[in-house]
Symmetry: D4
Subunit: 248 residues, 8 copies
C-alpha cells in the first residue's frame, strides 16, 4: 500500500487513523517516495541487483545466488573466485565464470545492447578491471567498444583507434602506473570520461594511489574518477550516462 491507498482506506473507514499511523511509521520513509527499494530495484532504476562476491561466506553466496536467480531469471556477481564458481556450478544451471574479469553469472536472455560506450586501457595488465567495467555495462544493456593497450607512452596506438571512440556516449578510461590515459582521452573527445585508476604497478604507485591522484588532478575537462580497481562502478555509471543519451 502506498500513501494514497492508505489514506483512501482511512477515508473509507476501512482503516482507523491509529492503524494507518502505525503502518506509516513502521514502513517508515520507504512508502513515501523511495519505497520497496530492494524488491522493486530493477523496475524502478532499471538496474538489477549485483552481487559483490568477495569475502561472502559460502552458504550466504549460495542462498543469494539462488534467490536472485529464481526471482529474476538471471544473476550477476563481481569479484568472484574459482572456488565460488565450483560451489555454484551444480546449483545454478548454465552459470559461467570469467577468470579475467572475475564475473560469475547465469541466465539472462540475449540482451539488446543500446547506445555505445568505449572502455579503454593503458596496458594489458589493466584488462581485468576493464572487463569488469565492460561486462557490467553489457549486463545492464549497454553496447561496449573495447580499446585496450593504448597507453600514453605510445600515442600512435590510441590515435589509430580514435575514430572508434569518437562517437561513444561515455568513455571508461582504465590505467595504472602513472594513470595519464584519461587526461589524453579527455582532450580528444567531447563526451564524459570516467577514469578508473588500477593498482597495477610497483614501487611508488602505492597500490594505485599514484594513478588516482593523477586522474583527480587531470587538467582535461569532463573527467571524474571512481575508486581504484572499481570497474563495476565505472560500468554502472557509464550505463547511467549511456541510457540518458539513448533516451532509455
Amino acid at each position: 500500500m502506498n500513501i494514497e491507498e492508505i489514506l483512501s482506506e482511512v477515508q473509507e473507514g476501512r482503516l482507523t487513523a491509529a492503524d494507518a499511523s502505525d503502518i506509516l511509521k513502521k514502513e517508515g520513509y520507504m512508502e513515501m517516495q523511495y519505497a520497496k527499494l530492494d524488491a522493486g530495484r530493477k523496475e524502478r532504476t532499471g538496474f538489477a541487483e549485483v552481487v559483490y562476491c568477495s569475502g561472502k561466506a559460502d552458504e550466504h553466496l549460495i542462498s543469494i545466488y539462488k534467490r536472485i536467480y529464481q526471482s529474476e531469471g538471471e544473476v550477476f556477481g563481481t569479484r568472484a573466485s574459482m572456488h565460488q564458481f565450483e560451489l555454484l556450478k551444480d546449483t545454478i544451471p548454465g552459470i559461467t565464470f570469467d577468470p579475467v574479469s572475475r564475473i560469475l553469472k547465469a541466465g539472462g536472455e540475449q540482451k539488446d545492447l543500446k547506445g555505445k560506450i568505449a572502455v579503454c586501457t593503458a596496458g594489458t595488465s589493466d584488462i581485468p578491471v576493464a572487463e569488469e567495467a565492460a561486462q557490467t555495462a553489457e549486463f545492464f544493456g549497454t553496447y561496449v567498444e573495447r580499446v585496450y593497450d593504448v597507453g600514453v607512452s605510445g600515442l600512435h596506438r590510441l590515435m589509430s583507434r580514435a575514430e572508434q571512440i569518437s562517437d561513444a556516449n561515455c568513455i571508461v578510461a582504465v590505467a595504472g602506473m602513472e594513470g595519464a590515459l584519461p587526461s589524453v582521452i579527455g582532450g580528444l573527445v567531447s563526451c564524459p570520461v570516467i577514469a578508473v585508476p588500477t593498482s597495477i604497478g610497483y614501487g611508488a604507485n602505492f597500490g594505485g594511489l599514484s594513478a588516482l591522484l593523477t586522474m583527480i588532478n587531470s587538467c582535461a575537462n569532463g573527467i571524474a574518477v571512481v575508486n581504484i580497481d572499481n570497474g563495476y562502478g565505472a560500468g554502472y555509471l557509464a550505463t547511467q550516462i549511456n541510457r540518458l543519451a539513448a533516451g532509455s
Copy 2:
C-alpha cells in the same frame, strides 16, 4: 583544408606531393580528426573556452579577456579576484564579478537553459564551490536547481527537497568535512552523481583529503569524483551529461 581536400588538390595537380606533405606534417595530427582544436572549440564541442584567472599576470588576463570577448561576444572566468575585476571593469563593458563563486564574466545573450541538473551542498560553507559549478553549467546552457545546506547530519533537510532533485539528469553533490552527502544522494536517485569534495573543515580533514577519500570509497552506485574544490569541473561534466540526456 582537410585530408580529402588536400588529396584532391594533389590529384588535380594544383598541389605537388611535396607541398602536400609539408602541409600535412606542419598541421600535424590536427587536420586529421581533431583539427583547429582551440579556434573551433565552441563549434566542435559546444563548450566555449573558460579562463582560469588565478595566478594570471595582469597584462595576460587583460589581453585574454579582450581577445575572447571580441571574438565570442562573451567571456567567462573562474577563480578571479576583486583586483582582477577592478583591472577589467573599464575595458570589458558590463563585466560582473561574483565574490562568492569568484566568477568574472561579461556578455552573452540571455541563454535558453535546457534540461536540468541539481547542485546540492552539505553546508553553507560549501556554497562558493557549488556556485562555481552552478554558474559554469548555466554559462554552458544548463538549467540548474540549487539545493543547499542539506548535509547528512540533518537528513530531514535533504528529504524535504527530494522531489526537487528526483528528475534531474545529473546531481552535483558538494561537501567538505566528512563528505558523506554524495553517498546518501546516490542512494536516493537513479541519475549520475558527481561528487565534489571541498576543503571546508579543520583538523584531520587535511585540506579536503578526508572528503575526497569518503567520496572515492562510496558504497553507493553511480558516483564519480572530481578534484577538491573543483566546482568548474563538476559543472562542465554535468553539462556534458545533461546535453546527452537532452539530446543537444
Copy 3:
C-alpha cells in the same frame, strides 16, 4: 500537524486523501518522527543551537546572532574573532568575547550546573581548546572541573590532582605533541575519556596528526577520539554522557 492529526483530519472529512498525501510528501520525513528538527532542537535534545563563527560573512553572523538571541534569550558561538565581537557588541546587549577560547556569547540566566566532568590538558598551550570544551559544557549546564598542565612527562602533576578527577562522569583529555595524556588518564579512571588531539607542536606533529594517531591507538580502555582541536565536540559529547549519568 503530526501524522495522527493529519489522519484524524482525513477521517473526519476535513482533509481529502489527496491533500493529506501532499502534506505528508511535502513535509517529507520530518513530520514522521524527527520533525521540525531545528525549530524544536532545544526542546527535543536539550541542546540549543551553537554558532560556528569562523568564516561566516559579517552580515550573516549579525543576523544569526540576532535571530537566536531574540528567540532564545541567549546565544553562544565558537571560533569567533575579535573583529566579530566588535561587529556585535553594539547590537547584542551584554555580549562577551573570551580571546582564549574564542567563545562569543550573550544572555542566558545563571545556569544550575549539574553532574561533573573534568577537562584536563597536557600543557598550557592546549588550554584554548580545553576552554572551548569546558565553556561549551557549561553552556549546556554541566559542572566542569579544570585540571590543566598535567602532561605525562611530569606525572606527579597529574597524580596530585587524581582525586579531583576520580568522581567525574566523563573526562575530556586535551593534548598536542605526542598526545599521551588520555592513555594515562584512561588507566586511572573508570569513566569514559574523550580524547582531543590538538595541533600544538612542530615538526613531525603534522598539524595534530601525531596526537590523533596516538589517541586512536591507545591501549587503555574507555577512550574515544574527536577531531583535532575540536573542543566544542568534546564538550558536547561530555555533556551528553554527564546528563545520562545525572539522569537529566
Copy 4:
C-alpha cells in the same frame, strides 16, 4: 593493607616506621589510590579482565585462560582463532568459539542485561566487528539491540529501524568504505554515538583510513571515534556510558 591500615599499625606499634616505609615504597603508588589494580579490577571498575588472544603463544594462552577461569568462573577473549579454540576446548569446560566475532569464552552465569545500547552496521561485511562490540557489551552486562546492514546508500533501511535505536543510551555505529553511517545516525539521535571504522573496502580505503577520517571529521554532534576494527573498545566504552545512564 591500605594507607590507613598501615598507619594504624605504625601508630599502634605493630609496625616500625622503617618497615611501613618499605611497604609503601614497594607497593608504590598502588596502595595510595588505585591499588591492586589487576587483582581487584572487576570489583573496582566492574569490568573483568578480557584476553586479547591474537598473537599469544599457545602455552601463554592456556595458562591465562585457566587462571582467569579458576579465579573468576568465567573467561572472555577477543580476536581468537579456531586453532586457539582447539587448544582450549578440552581444558576449559563449556568453552565456545564464535567464528564471526572471533570471541572465545567460557562460564559466566546467565547475566541480567541492563539498560540499552544499539550496535548498527553499514553493511553485512561489518558484522564481525559489530559482533565483537555487541558480545563485549553483553559480557559486561549491557542489553544490546542489533541493527545491521543499514548503510547510508539505502536510507530507508535505517529509517525503518529508527524507533529501535531512538531510546538507546549509546549507539555503536560500525562502517567501512566511506564510513558515513555515524554522521547520519548522529543527526537522528540525541545520545552519544561511538563510531567504529572498519577495514572493509578496497582501493583508496587504505585499510580503514578513509572511514576513520570520515568519522573524525563528522559534522554531526555527539560522535567520537575508536580505532579501526576496534569492536571491543567500542563495546567497553558503550558499556561505561550505559552504566552511567542506568545508574549502575
Copy 5:
C-alpha cells in the same frame, strides 16, 4: 608507405584520393612522423623490445617470447620467475634465467660493449635491483662497471673504488634504507647520476618511500630518480646517456 610515397601514388594516379585518405586515417598519426613504432622500434631507437614478465599469463609469455625470438634472434625479459623459466626452457633454445636479477633471456650474438657506466649499490641486498640495471644496460650494448656494497656508513669502501667510477659516462646508484649513496656519489663525479631507490629495509622505510624521498631531495647536482626497484628503467636511461657520450 610514408606520406611522400602515398602522395606520389596519388599524383601518379595509382591511388585515388579516397583510398589515400583511408590509408592515412587508418594508420593514423603513425605514418606521419613516428610511424611503425613497435615493428621498427629497434631500428629507430636502437632499443629492442623488452618483456616485463611479472604477472603475464603462461600462454601469453610463451607466445611473446617465441615471436620476439623468431624475429629478433634474441629475447630479454625482466621480473621473471623460476616457473616462467621452466615454461620456456624447452621452447627457446639456450634460454637462461638469473635468479638474482630475475632476467630471463636467450640468443643474441656476443655484443661489443661500448662506453662505460658504473652501477653502484649501498648494500648487498640492493644487488638484485643493480643487476637488473646492469644486465639491461649490457643487453643494450653498454659496458658496465659493477661497484657493490659501498654504502655511506662506511665511506672508505666507496673511496677505494673512486677511480673505477670516475671515468664513467653515467652512474647508476642503487640504495635502500636511507638512500644516501647518490648524494655522496653526486658530490664525487661530474657525470649524471641516476638514483634508484630500493624497497630494502624495514619499519619506517615504507616500501622504499624513505629512500625515494632522500634521493628526490638530494642537495647534490646532477641527480635524477627513477621508481623504487626500477633497475630496468635506470639501465635503459643510462644506456641512452652512454650512447650520446659514445656518439652511437
Copy 6:
C-alpha cells in the same frame, strides 16, 4: 616531609594516622620518590628549567623570566622573537637575544665547559637549528665544537674536519633536504650520533619529513633521531651523554 619523616611523626604521636594519610594522599606520588620535581629540578637532574618562548603571551613570558631570573640568577629561553627581546630588555638586566638561534638569555656566571660534543651541519641553512643545540648544550655546561657546512655532496669538507670530531663524546648531526649527514658521520665515529632533521628544503621534503625518514632508516650504527628542527632536544640529550662520559 618525606615518607620516613611522616611515619616518624606518626610513630611519635605528633601526627595522627588520619592526618598522615591525608598528607600522603594530597602530595600523592611526589613525596614517594620523585618529589618536588620542578622546584628541585636543577639540583636533582642538573638541568635548570628552560623556557619555550614561542606562542607565550607577553605577560606570561615576562613573569616567567622574572621568576626564574630571581630564583636562579640566570634564565634561558628558546624559539624567542625580537619582539619578546624588546619586551624583556628593560626588565631583565643584561638579557641578550641571538637572532640566529632565537635564544633569549640572561645572567649565569661564566661556566666551566666540560667534556666535548660536536655539532655538525650539512649546510649553512641548518645553522639556526645547530646553534639552538650548541647554545643549549653550552648553557648546561658542555664544551661544543662547531663543524658547519660539511654536507655529504662535498665529502672533502667533512673529511678535513674529521679529527675535530673524532674525540667528541657525542655528535649532533643537523641536516635538512636529504638528511644523509648522520649516516656518513655514524660510519666515521664510534660515539653516539644524535640526528636532527631540519625543515630546510622545498618540494618533496614535506617540511622535514624526508630528512626525518632518512635518519630513522639510517644503516649506520649508533644513531637516534629527535623531532624536526628540535635543536634544543638534541643539545639536552647530548649534554646528558657528555655528562655520563665526563663522570659529572
Copy 7:
C-alpha cells in the same frame, strides 16, 4: 700540490716526512683525488658555482655575489627576489633580474651555445620553473629550444612541435597538476627525458606530490625525475647530458 708533488718534495729532501704527513692530513682527502673542490670547481667540472639566493641574509648575499663576480667575471643565482636585486644593483655592474625565472645574474661574455636540449611545459603556469631550467642550461653553455604550453589534454599542440624536439639531446619536461607530459614525450623521443614536477595545481595535488608520483610511475622508458619545482637541477643535469653528446 698533489700527492706526487708532495712525495717528490720528500724524496728530494725539500720536505720532511712529518711536514708532508701534516700537509696530507690537513688537506685530507681533498688532495688525493678530488682536491680543491670549490676553488677549482669550474675548471674541473665545467660548472661554475651557482648561488641559491632564497633565504640568504642580505649581507651574505652581497658578499657572495661580489666575491664570485670578482673572481669569475660573472655570477648567476636562482630563487632570488626583487628585494635582493635592489640590494645588488648598485654594487654589481649590469646585474639583471628576471621576475619570471627569479634568476639574478651579471657578467659573462656572450656564450657560444652548444648542442641542443628542449624545455617543454604542460601549461603556462609551469613557465617559471621551465625558465629556471632553460636559463640555467644557457648559463652553462647549452642551446635551449623552448616548447611551452603543450599539455596532454590538447595533444595537437605537442604534435605540431614534435619536429622541434626530435633532435634534442635531452628533453626537460615540466608539468604540474596530473604531470602526464613526460610520459607522452617519453613515448615520442629516443633521448633522455628529465621530468620536473611543479607545485602548480590545487586540491589533491598536495604541493606537487601528485605530479611527482605520476612521473616516478611513468610507464615510458628513459625518464627520470627531479624534485618538485627544481628547474635548476633539471637544467644542470640536461647540460651534463648535452655535453656528453656534444663531446665537450
Copy 8:
C-alpha cells in the same frame, strides 16, 4: 703502513714516489684516519661485527658465520629464522637460537657485564624487540635490567619498578600501539632514553608509524628515537652510552 711510515720509506729511499703514490691512492682514505675499518672493527670501536640474517642466502650465511666464528671465536646474528638455525647447528659448535629475540649466536667466553641499562616494554607483545635490544647490549658487555609490561595504561606497574631503572645509565623504552611509554619514563629519569617504536597494534597504527610519531613528538627531555622494531640499533646505542658512563 700509515702515512708517516710510507713517507719515511720514501725519505729513506726504500720506496719511490710513484709507488708511494700508488699505495696512497689504492688504499685511499682508509690509511689516513679510519683505515682497515672492517678487519679492525672490534679493536677500534669495541664492537664486533653483527650479522643481519634476514634475507641472506643460505650459502652466504653459512660462510659468514664460519668466517666470523673462526676469526673471532664468537658470532652473533639478528633477525634469524629457525631454518637458519637448522642450517648452522651442525657446522658451528654450540650455536643457539632464541625464537623470541630471533638471535642466533655461538661462542664467546662468559662476559663481564659492566655498567647498567634498563630495557622496558609497554606490553608483552613488545618483548621480542626488547630482547633483541637486551641481548645485543649483553653481547657487547652491558649489564641489562629487564622491566617488561609496564605500559602507561596501568601506571602502577611502572611505578613499582621505578627504583630498578633509576640508576641506569640509559633506558631503552620499547612500545607499540600509542607508544607513550618513553615520554612517561623520560619524565621520571635523568638519563638518556632511547625510544623504540614497534609494529605491534592494528588499524591506524600503520605498521608502527603511530608509535614512531608519538615518540618523535615527545614533550619530555632526553629522548631520541630509532627505527620501528630496531631493537638491535637501540641495544648498540645504549651500549655506547653505557660505555661512556662506565669509562670503558
